[in-house]
Every structure is written in structure tokens, then in C-alpha cells.
């Protein structure tokens, strides 16, 4: 099958902005008197409007990477640029959705979303319209006055997505956004996210531990390994959106990625090396 650039997929808005460029990112935490190398020479270029999924073992630095892109952490080596501009601190151009919804429990759904607009110099009416539009976008019409504890996990996560999109960021970062949801809700929200992405056209970088989800949504799937966190493999998924989950291509790619994720020699762990001794 030929590669179909996402920008040529029918129905997908063509975007000129939202190119994310990561060059030689190095990140370490100083833990007591020990240095913990979390990311090493991490480089990745994401095209405007592209959907990139990142999978990798837990602790390989995926969340750390997104926090760097979002600007929540500024201590690293290398460069992170959005449309050629080096990022500094947080910005409304870069949205972030966490695994937990992080809605404020004392605010109604619409107040939670409106909080994201407190730094925007637009009229009250314009703000109200943005909030209403984004509540509708994630299918939560009728729940404007609900408090987070009155929403199901899936609804709360949708609200979190609405909040992160209300500023129409050039790039949306998603850190295991469906990781805490049950399987059915997850499948449903994957479809929703795809619809939103097709309608909105912003660049998306999503971390997930679900390889199937990564392949179903991503134009590209980046596979990471730990110690230190780095890219070991990139898989192009040359299938038009929306995709058929039963596609044999997806299944083949899934098997490949799973094999890579589960069959990596771990030089740091002598026991694993011993058990896996025959294969090497």
C-alpha cells in the first residue's frame, strides 16, 4: 500500500502550523546525589497536523518528554521548537491532557473549561461561545452545570480534552489520556478523539501503553526503550482515517511492535540476561 500523507486524507483539514521539532533532547533528574538519565539524544520531527503515537515501557521517560514539550519543565539539553520557534515555558499554543482529568472539583464543567480562557483578551460572549462549542465538540451538551464528581470517568476525560482544546492549540499533547478508563469507554473515546482530530486538524502527540490504540490513531508510532529513554523504532501507518480496527495491516504491525517491546535484552538486569541467554 502506498503512503497517504494525512494532509491528503479526505475530510482532514490541511494545517500549515503545528510542526514540532525535537532535537537531541537530553534530560536527567538529580536524585539525592545520583543522576538519573531519563532521556538521551531524543530527536523527532512532527509534521503540522500529524498524529504521532508514542509507546514504550513505563519509566522510559514518556511523561517527562511531554512535560518538556508542554513547558512545565525547562531544565533539559537540546532544542524543542514549535513552527521553528524555540519553546519557553507553557503556552496556550501547546495543550496537554493528563491521564487523570485534573478538573477542579469545585467548578462546574463549563467553569473548568472557562478557566483555560482566563488569559485570553476576548469578550465575555466570545469566551462563552468557545466554551459552549467545545462542550458540544466532545459531546457533553447538557452537562455544562455538572460538577466533576457527577461525571463518569469517560465524561470527565472528554471535559479535560475540551478544556485543552478551547484555546485551539497548535499542538495537543496527550499523556495516556484513556489509560484509566474501562475497555469499552476507551474504544469509544478513541473514535471520538479521531473525529475531533479530523475536525480540528491540530497536531497531536499521544502517549499510550496500548499498542492497538497507538496504531489505530497514529500516522506514525514511535517505539521507545528505557535507560535511557530513546527511540528504537518508528512505524509509519499508511492507512487512511478513520480506520478499520480489524485491518490485517494493523494486526501485523501490532505483532511487530509487541514483539519489539517484549523481547528486548536488558543489559542492566543480569537475571533477565541469564534467562534470555539462549536467544542472544
Amino acid at each position: 500500500m502506498d503512503y497517504v500523507p494525512h494532509s491528503q486524507i479526505p475530510g482532514h483539514k490541511i494545517k500549515q502550523t503545528g510542526a514540532v521539532s525535537l532535537k537531541g533532547i537530553k534530560k536527567q533528574f538529580n536524585f539525592k546525589d545520583r543522576e538519573l538519565k531519563v532521556l538521551s539524544e531524543f530527536s523527532l520531527d512532527v509534521q503540522p497536523g500529524e498524529f504521532v503515537s508514542i509507546v514504550g515501557p513505563s519509566g522510559c521517560g514518556k511523561s517527562t518528554l511531554l512535560r518538556l514539550i508542554a513547558g512545565l519543565d525547562d531544565t533539559y539539553d537540546g532544542t524543542i521548537a514549535l513552527d521553528g520557534q524555540r519553546v519557553a515555558g507553557t503556552s496556550l499554543e501547546r495543550g496537554l491532557v493528563f491521564q487523570d482529568h485534573r478538573l477542579f472539583p469545585w467548578m462546574t464543567l463549563e467553569d473548568n473549561i472557562a478557566l483555560a480562557l482566563t488569559n485570553r483578551q476576548i469578550s465575555k460572549d466570545a469566551k462563552a461561545k468557545l466554551v459552549a462549542d467545545h462542550i458540544a465538540l466532545v459531546g457533553l451538551k447538557g452537562f455544562e452545570k455538572a460538577f466533576p464528581h457527577q461525571l463518569s470517568g469517560g465524561m470527565a476525560q472528554r471535559a479535560a480534552i475540551a478544556r485543552s482544546l478551547v484555546n485551539e492549540p497548535k499542538v495537543l499533547l496527550l499523556d495516556e489520556p484513556f489509560g484509566a478508563l474501562d475497555a469499552l469507554t476507551r474504544v469509544h473515546l478513541q473514535g471520538e478523539l479521531q473525529r475531533i482530530w479530523l475536525a480540528q486538524g491540530s497536531t497531536m502527540i499521544m502517549i499510550t501503553h496500548d499498542v492497538e490504540e497507538a496504531l489505530y490513531l497514529g500516522d506514525r508510532v514511535v517505539v521507545m526503550q528505557a535507560n535511557p529513554g530513546r527511540i528504537t523504532h518508528t512505524v509509519d501507518v499508511n492507512l487512511p482515517h478513520p480506520r478499520d480496527r480489524a485491518s490485517p495491516v494493523l494486526h501485523k504491525l501490532k505483532d511487530e511492535i509487541l514483539a519489539e517491546l517484549t523481547n528486548v535484552p536488558e543489559p542492566s538486569n543480569p537475571i533477565v540476561r541469564l534467562i534470555k541467554g539462549d536467544d542472544q
Binding site: 512545565l72 507553557t90 496556550l92 493528563f98 477542579f104 472539583p105 483555560a116 482566563t118 488569559n119 460538577f147
Partner: protein, 251 residues
Amino acid sequence: MKPDLKLILSVGSPLLLLIVWQAVTAFKLFPPEVLVSPTAVIAAFGEVITTGELQRHLSESLTRLAGGFTTGASLGLLFGLALALSKTVERVFGPTFQALRQVPVLAFIPMLILLLGIDEVFKIVIIAKAAFFPVALAAYDSVKGVPKSYFEVSSLYRAPWWVLISKILIPATIPNILAGVRLSLTRSWLVLVAAELIVADSGLGQMMEMGRQMFRLDIVMVGVIVAGVIGFALDRLFQLLQAHALRWKTA
């Protein structure tokens, strides 16, 4: 069915206490100089109300409470916030604060009498001291306890500092601060009555002390009951205020 049972029990238990009390005095199990009968107390109630004595003492006490409590709680709030928000304040005052709050308020009475005499200022100071610590501690703990994730969300959306304070920090800390204020309110009342028993020329505690000196145990009992009812009412009123402030929790 269940709420009815609860109601019967909550009305019934004080009623039962009253009946036992009446029975004990009717059978003269204790000499009347030690335990007076409920009917005598009711009579004394009528007496102190018609003479206006009760109203006068009570309004003295409540004025004192208002002054001392408001001063102490406001200072406690400001101090607790400063302690939580400033590293310098924490380093300078932290250890003293932690040590002083372990000293019972009443232990300060002798020292304060020497310093301030037994005038109005002394009473205000002693109540303020009682009100100060629970509020300061609650403010400190609750600000320290605001999750990092709240600051991160605020930073992601570049919320201005006044939004961070008014829409995030205050709502996040208000439940614990209100709990601290409530504790300090009831504490202040207890300390006030106790302080008036020891040194005062007016107030509910003083009314009881005078009653004791004149062997009017019925008046002492009136004081005990009024002190209890006022404490209970203050706590309940504050609970209502708390429930109103936190109505999003139950909405």
C-alpha cells in the same frame, strides 16, 4: 422510620438525663448544697432573666468572644498563610510556632495577668490566643497541601495570579481553613468561660463564680447550661456556614 428513631433518641437522651436528675434530687441522694433539682434551676433561670442579670453577663461574654475570636482568627489566618508561603517566615517563626502551640492556653493565664492585669485586654488576648493556633495551623497545612497538579494546570493555561488565588488556591484550602476556624470558635468559647471563672468582673463565668460564692448552685447550673447551649449553637451555626461554602461537594 429511621430518622424518626434518631429524632426520638436525640430528644429522648437529654430528657432522660433530666428525669434521672429530677429523681436523684427528689430522693435526696445528694445534699441540696451539692446538687440542686431541675425545678430549682428553672426557677433560677426565671430569676436571672427577670433581673436582666443573665442578659447582661451573656452580652458581655459574647462581645468579648467576638473581639478576641475575630482578632485571633484573622491574625492566625494571616500568620498561617505567611508561614506556608514564605520560606523566610517559616525558618524564623516555624519552630517557635510549633512549640508554642503545644502549650495549653490556660497555662498562659498567670503570666498574662502579671503582664496585662485582669482588665478587658487580658481577656481579649487570652481568647485571641486560643483562636489563633487552630486557624494558623489549618491555614498552614492546607496551603502546604495544595497538590502540585493544581499549579501545573494553572500554569498550562497561563492563568493570571489573581485567578490562581481566587479560583484555585482559596477554594482548595477553604474546607480545611473553615474546619480550623470552627475549632477555634468553640475553643475560644471554652477558654472565655474558664477565664471569666478565674478573673472577671462580668460575664457568664463571673455570674457562675458569684453564684458559687453565695452557695447559689441553681445559678451555677444555669451558667453551665447556658455555656453548653451557646457553645453548641455557635458550633452548629458555623457548621451551616461550612456546608454553604462547600455545597459543591454535595451538589
